[in-house]
Symmetry: C2
Subunit: 372 residues, 2 copies
């Protein structure tokens, strides 16, 4: 937090309620407004504290049978400029109820100003990849788990030589015996640098998600190796790790959605655009990986577009972040994705690419698709 | 991780599947076994990597119309002794599917041996509270948000003098302007110590959940003040913060369930006993706060008992942890809770206590209930 928050600004939250038989929307909404900050019957809250910290219900609107949308307002000062507390305020104890979905947040300027967001953003990440021309970027993953560091580095080299813009560790790669972190990142970075000396400008994105007490050491190692970006899963880590890394690591950050799907229920949780599009960006992700509609995951086209719009749209003075769309991204998928999501997008090529007999050629074909 | 994991031990996971029309349980199970570690069509995975890292389906059993239970087995080495990766393996990308619930985990000895679990456990926490006699403990929370540090400290003093065993910060207290962290913890610890000089042995449990880059400084401050325990929300932080704190902070750790309810869907997510009872304990929580059945949250008696049993039952050589039951814990609730959960339990008194005109007397009445 860089400056104190004005106590009189309010964070407005639109909440979709799915009502159980006999539940009344107004009571449920009043409970939420109370539950999240003060968690006490308001009669027990001293007047001054109530005025300072209690939420209130702005309006409740029926949206269907046993469905309602409530607009709640919370004093911004309850957040205290603290990202974990922001998440707690939005969906802390309420997560243990049912049928409460955070559909939309209206971010007050004072709250946005307390967070710096992406350190690189779309333009910064483009610059790191040497991809300043207006085209989508293509990312590929080093996998599977079980390969040696040398085998993964060989894949990284082929992908980079073929013209893949960002080569990331699979998010499951951590400290397994076959390819321990230190050896893996050194060899993969070396392979990507060799390709770059041959005229490419690929960015290697190792997985930084890992033990809490080794994060600092790993960031130091990456910087010494010349690595300029890293993959972090904000829900396996914490959202605030992303913020701290964006502020202090010098690395561009790609956010991985592991575990976060559990918080994106249709009736209970966050709308994807709030969690992936706004909270991940607010924390400082320069790009957010999420599954495209129509793959083996369960998000709709509308939801996927909303996430992309939230990542790239106005959000205070925060830099825009790249949507990174995974799932089913072969050449045809990328063509469709480009029409759907536009040029400020990263496409994550998956099994279709890794299944090619000649990886470098497969990568080059995808890259050519983007240069059209 | 203290010693390398034997590559041939397997982590078995029982998964309840809710099938969409046309979905086949066997295919879904095979997808999960593949998805979690290698995330590739097995035909694309080199034989050696497949043998080392791929999961397999042990059996699939129909459990009802469009319901099945699958038993999956994953090589322990895929975890690499890394807690974020353990969570990723159990419910990482799968979180973005639907109808997948982690019902039970069979923990191999090699994996359990890689984690130390609670540093204090039930006996250690009893010793810190001077409550070695066989009785439940009682905890109360400092709230609401909006009070000053002095007002919160006055409440802490009354609760401690009345005989409350553990006085915790409300989980929403962080760095708000009314009671900033440094001032709040100093004054509350002082108030509790004063009560203890008068013959009590109350433990103050400040909220340590907060900015990633201030955690170390805050732990140092607590230790200098003589604070011996802290509250951490593992899902606002990360589970691995609990592990690192258990290993290195010297503080007893109480886990708060904020945000975690989103991962405990009836059809999708974790069974509460796996997340709260096993993963929180494995990480090192000495006590785990969760809502009792019948309150405003949505857990059944059976689920609440399963969590308590998991926290206290055998789990390798890990110390048992206290179930800390919140929601509706007045004297009558504590009497019922004691019959239901037994003496190795902490009861979290809530609004019923804080609403008393004489807080110290109210606290003493609850304590007397426990001494019966």
């Amino acid at each position: 937090m860089d400056r104190p928050l004005a106590a009189d600004e309010r964070l407005e939250v639109l909440v979709d309620l799915a009502l159980a038989p006999g539940e009344r929307a107004e009571e449920l909404a009043a409970g939420l407004a109370r539950e999240q900050p003060v968690e006490l019957d308001l009669a027990l809250v001293p007047e001054r504290a109530r005025a300072a910290a209690a939420g209130r219900v702005v309006e409740v609107e029926a949206t269907g049978p046993r469905r309602a949308r409530a607009r709640l307002a919370f004093p911004v000062a309850t957040v205290g400029g603290d990202l974990p507390q922001l998440v707690n305020l939005l969906f802390g104890n309420v997560s243990m109820q049912r049928g409460v979905r955070i559909a939309e947040v209206r971010w007050p300027a004072a709250l946005l100003a307390a967070f710096r967001g992406p350190a690189f953003g779309i333009d910064g990440l483009r610059a790191l990849c040497g991809a300043t021309a207006r085209r989508p970027l293509v990312m590929a993953a080093l996998k599977p788990l079980g390969l040696s560091a040398g085998e993964l580095a060989a894949i990284a080299g082929s992908l980079a030589r073929g013209g893949i813009d960002l080569v990331k560790d699979d998010h499951s790669l951590c400290e397994q015996p076959w390819a321990p972190f230190a050896e893996r990142v050194a060899r993969c970075q070396e392979a990507v640098e060799a390709a770059n000396r041959g005229g490419r400008s690929c960015l290697y994105v190792p997985n930084l998600t890992g033990p809490a007490d080794r994060l600092g050491e790993r960031v130091g190692r990456l910087r010494r190796l010349g690595v300029q970006a890293a993959l972090v899963a904000p829900l396996l880590e914490r959202l605030d790790t992303v913020r701290a890394l964006a502020a202090g690591s010098g690395l561009a950050l790609l956010a991985h959605p592991s575990l976060s799907g559990g918080l994106l229920g249709r009736r209970h949780g966050f709308a994807p655009r709030v969690l992936w599009g706004e909270l991940f960006r607010l924390a400082g992700a320069d790009g957010v990986i999420y599954p495209n509609a129509g793959g083996r995951f369960r998000f709709s086209r509308g939801e996927c577009r909303d996430v992309a719009a939230a990542l790239r749209g106005p959000l205070g003075t925060l830099a825009p972040a790249f949507p990174v769309l995974g799932s089913g991204m072969d050449a045809a998928g990328i063509r469709r994705g480009r029409r759907r999501y536009g040029d400020d997008t990263v496409f994550l090529a998956g099994a279709g690419l890794l299944g090619q007999p000649d990886l470098e050629r497969g990568a080059a074909a995808l890259r050519a698709e983007l240069e059209r």
